[in-house]
Symmetry: C2
Subunit: 416 residues, 2 copies
């Protein structure tokens, strides 16, 4: 008997989160013997609870579907809704009632750690009520912090953006050869420094900028930092320093907490801003030299102009693999990447228990952090380099990129 | 008799400042009957005074020369050195002694207002001593604030970067449909709002984000701003506001001066940071809604991935035209752009007295600022749109852009 499929996106977007969605939809169209309707939840679980859906089947053969591949943001909308820990909470029967009313057999959720928590809870609840609905997670995060997978879709395009932009800013920083200056570039990454570490690829030669890279895997010492700048400036008059937003002192206090009022998000994460600004002020006050800070900010996760072709292809492949796996009966799993060889780079998709992945964080192995905790090793670069290979041409109109948007679909594409 | 040519770059870089240099070198090679050596000043006038030169003739037919076109930053290095107002200052005979010792006949300087001031002073001093050296300015500024020219090379690529990035950030900002949020994007532009106004191109439809655009040509009122946000949020739950860094109140006080200690640069300009951050705090405190600010920062002027082909071609053409003009005896002039038609867009190069250009600022005509000073008119969009047309493919290696760099040239390319 045919069942319907539902897919959602959750958490912060990446440049290829819609690539994963494209892969799901493309593969689902191939299995119309098993799948009836393909629904998209608008704004993840929140949209599900509010019964707001997009009929993705309506996109069959459309130009809109093709545009999805290179569209930033979450096409279906996102949420940061956390399901209750207690599986006896009334929200669970409420959700499964909606599944039943829509004849859902397959549930796919594209997201990071928190979204995998949703997949884990729904699949565990399904077991308790002996539901035969299958639940599968598709990885997505620029932070690359999911365990049991070689890397995550979205990371490589963000890494390519970081390396490209740091290389460009380093060119910009070097124009006043005769004036000493420090440029501090703040890169996303709360507890895992993968993206900040990617700035090492910006170097053409070993001694190029960024000369210093600071990661949240190790603790940061302000006096050591100032000493290093003093020592390095004579040979590197235009010094570029890349830092992860989440760098912290040996007591675990984030730099950005040291002079700011901060809040917490719905998941209890502290909201970070301003480690770069904090260090800018420190360098200015203590060393009295020209200094500026640049926060790469959201462009890291939404830039379509630096898409990695490898990343996009892998995101699509993860979506396709996920659909085949769930039709085969996989549930409570997440699609993972296994690197079978680094040179030449080859990869296969696999499955791991989602409950072993959610609420875990994979940080950079300490043996890859070198030079007194201010750089990353060649082994890290060999790991990262294959992932950023290849460029993607984004469709352009009138000098600007063209993106897909649900806002432009006719009303009958929606169920709400 | 053959004379030598010298060329320099000054002020902040743009994405096509090296395109202008490429045009100069390319055209100069065509006139080896009149031009002997082609020298580059390393770091503008400062390098000239320190006798630090690059023999640009050595780049003839090299891959390096070709890479120049798409290389960000100032290939020759830059400076912010201001020549004394008093033409009887001893620095002038010192400079002309260097010119004589190097048999310079032609001096070209690529820069903005301040650099045109240098061209003006040198050409006026030359008159006083009856020197036959010719001095010509080539325009360059992302700010588009030079008078007597339709626009300036560098503006359009920065505008394309701004429009693209604001479109992408707007996609990112819209993912949590169910939560009201304000995103404030701070764009470069101290007194002229051309770049911030370019964010209007990010819209696909008239009502798209950015819903509000604030420019420094008019004064900014905080209460009006908060009222507009309150009024607009119900229909636009994820509001994007673009502001120019130089917005100020009716007394001319910059927003960023309101809660910060600030310094001044060598030209006496106040150094601005943080108008976006200031408004972010204002919105959070007064309206209590989710708000973030994004400073587009230096990537606006150094991004090679958003180059406008039109801009690059015009930069190259301005360099070529400049060389032909100076060989014809032009001096004390700047190359300008005259738009001969908007649809189809056609442009010719011309010359204007540099003394009428330096130390002036062209701002957006007030009739182009509409909707209670929160938007720009269709006339502005018709002016801007032709300039951002066409894309440039940047040479890539191993997934990253390849740039030219004097650091990699052999020692015998330099004279110092």
């Amino acid at each position: 008997m045919k069942k319907n499929m539902i897919v959602g996106q959750s958490g912060g977007p990446t440049a290829v989160i819609n690539g994963s969605l494209y892969g799901v939809v493309l593969e689902a169209f191939e299995h119309d013997d098993m799948i009836g309707q393909i629904y998209g939840m608008l704004n993840g679980i929140e949209g599900l609870l509010n019964r707001q859906f997009l009929k993705l089947s309506a996109l069959h053969g459309s130009k809109e579907l093709d545009l999805l591949k290179t569209t930033p943001g979450s096409y279906l909308g996102s949420c940061r809704y956390r399901l209750p820990e207690d599986l006896s909470d009334p929200v669970y029967p409420q959700i499964f009632e909606i599944f039943d009313s829509m004849q859902i057999g397959y549930f796919l959720y594209i997201g990071g750690n928190d979204s995998m928590d949703t997949v884990s809870k729904l699949s565990r609840y399904a077991q308790t009520i002996e539901s035969d609905i299958c639940f599968l997670g598709l990885p997505k995060t620029i932070d690359n912090d999911l365990v049991l997978t070689d890397h995550t879709p979205g990371f490589a395009s963000a890494a390519k953006y970081v390396a490209t932009t740091v290389r460009e800013i380093s060119m910009d920083a070097a124009v006043y050869h005769n004036t000493q200056s420090v440029t501090i570039i703040e890169i996303m990454g709360r507890h895992a420094g993968w993206l900040a570490a990617a700035s090492a690829l910006a170097r053409k030669n070993k001694t190029d900028n960024p000369v210093l890279i600071y990661l949240p895997e190790v603790s940061f010492n302000e006096e050591d930092f100032l000493d290093k700048i003093r020592t390095l400036l004579p040979a590197n008059p235009n010094l570029v320093v890349c830092i992860s937003e989440g760098i912290h002192d040996c007591d675990g206090v984030f730099l950005c907490e040291k002079d700011q009022t901060i809040g917490t998000d719905n998941f209890g994460h502290k909201m970070l801003t301003g480690s770069g600004k904090y260090l800018e002020n420190l360098v200015r006050e203590r060393l009295g030299i020209k200094v500026r800070s640049v926060e790469l900010n959201v462009a890291q996760r939404c830039s379509s102009i630096c898409l990695s072709l490898t990343d996009l292809n892998e995101a699509i492949a993860s979506g396709q693999f996920g659909v085949r796996a769930i039709l085969d009966g996989a549930t409570g799993k997440m699609v993972t990447f296994c690197r079978t060889s680094s040179a030449p780079y080859t990869l296969t998709c696999s499955l791991e228990d989602v409950s072993r992945i959610c609420n875990q964080e994979k940080t950079i192995p300490l043996e890859w952090i070198i030079k007194d905790d201010t750089d990353v090793s060649d082994a890290f670069l060999r790991y990262l380099s294959p992932l950023i290979q290849g460029e993607v041409t984004v469709p352009m109109h009138d000098g600007l990129p063209v993106f897909a948007s649900t806002a432009e679909l006719p009303d009958d594409c929606f169920l709400r």
